[in-house]
Amino acid sequence: MDLGDFERDNTGSCRLSSPVPELCRTEDCCLGIDEAGRGPVLGPMVYGICFCPLSKLSDLEALKVADSKTLSEAEREKLFGKLDQARGFVGWALDILSPNLISTSMQRRAKYNLNSLSHDTAMALVQLALNQGVRVTQVFVDTVGPADKYQQKLQERFPEVEVTVRPKADSLFPVVSAASICAKVARDHVVKKWKFLEDLGDLKMDYGSGYPNDPKTKLWLSQCLDPVFGFPQFVRFSWSTAQLILDGRAVPVRWEDSEEEAGGPPAAGRGSGTPSLLSYFARTQAPTERQSHRFFHERGLETVADL
């Protein structure tokens, strides 16, 4: 698995894919979708698809792929090697979503929640396979959220394909297990070889599993905290674990769209600065002379009374 592209820029997203087996273009295929690294507060989230002709399903099963979570890292590596050797009939593709992309999406002005991000990424991968000429007839998806809605969403998007969304699909359908192995192997590699953009000095990279409830992860988060910048981009700022540490120990930062959360009215003077007529009349309490010409209002220029 060549992760060079992602390593060159680990702030966005990156797509990796195997060559498409010729067989997958000529025969009906099933396609599995799974994700790795949804829960951790650290590192990327990886989406994987794996596909193989229906006629070759027993060959795939023979590789003894299983839910990646039940396997050790070494076993996953070994299985990914086997999948790679089966390139005559197995294809895969991955989308690696950097923690920075996750943070900035979830904290966007127009919020983009993790479910939407997951669904969109999964659909883009199915579309990729279709575009590459894979004759996808069945799609199997593992989900953590409500399966019905997700299934409906996918079915509407891909009406020609038979969609099955199922919790624990990764242990039920080998093609989903295979996808989960690809995704997990990629995430393991990325995390292990993470190149920090930030200069963290001699901070030990002993961050445990990356799951919020892991004491090692928690300790590491508080060790790498900078009072102004918060965390390195390896951390998902949008996770409540991270937010709580920031709220408690970092310098408060206010954004123009973070006001509503505080419950207060939107701050005056924001944006176009168009007070109501009533506020104009209200100002007559104070000397009206203070009003300066619109030239200055329109340019955000104020009189300064003192240094």
Binding site: D9, T11, N100, S103, T104, Q107, R108, R109, L197, E198, D199, L200, G201, D226, P227, V228, F229, G230, P232, Q233, R236, F237, S238, A242, L246, V251, P252, V253, R254, W255, E256, D257, F295, E298, R299, G300, L301, L307
Partner: protein
């Protein structure tokens, strides 16, 4: 502040000016004779230390689209600068998990930027500020979008040239 002390100084500074004089010419002469360079001993001045301006070095500045409720050290070169990368419309970076899009703003020609800091070691009456950095451009960051040509900053920076025109002496000739 010690307005008492200030008043004392003020009275001491301009005794002649404060008396409605029977002899205006005398007071006038006093003023006129003042050497060109010597600023009168007026209270309430905040002096900019010339040597500090000469010594001040070019400093990178970033104007962020958020309010950081803190004054003091910040590990900009460890956390921020290395994370800046080229985007399609200019530099892109993240701060606190939010995406920022930047734009280089150059000061109007003939203008120079100074970062001033007050030297509090002096007494409370004589305030002094020192230049601790200079700049001729800075990076203006927009939240999730580049500031763009409509940014208020650009319009604000058109003020110096208009101000110069408004405040230039009027042409003498015609009437």
């Amino acid at each position: 502040m010690g307005s008492h002390a200030e008043r004392k100084r003020r009275d001491g500074a301009q005794p002649s000016a404060r008396v409605p004089s029977a002899s205006p010419a005398a007071a006038h002469a006093h003023r006129e004779s003042m050497p060109d360079g010597a600023a009168p001993a007026v209270p309430g001045l905040i002096r900019l230390q010339p040597s500090s301006v000469r010594a001040a070095a070019q400093t990178p500045l970033h104007l962020l689209p958020c309010e950081i409720q803190h004054n003091g050290p910040a590990a900009v070169s460890r956390f921020f600068s290395p994370a800046i990368r080229p985007g399609s419309s200019g530099p892109v970076v993240s701060f606190r998990g939010r995406s920022l899009h930047g734009e280089e703003v150059t000061l109007p020609s003939g203008y120079m930027g100074l970062v001033l800091r007050e030297d509090k070691s002096e007494g409370p009456e004589d305030r002094t500020v020192q230049a601790i950095g200079t700049f001729s451009c800075f990076t203006l960051w927009g939240l999730e979008a580049p500031p763009g040509p409509n940014a208020r900053m650009h319009r604000a920076l058109s003020w110096p040239s208009l101000a110069t025109a408004i405040h230039a002496p009027v042409a003498e000739e015609d009437d």
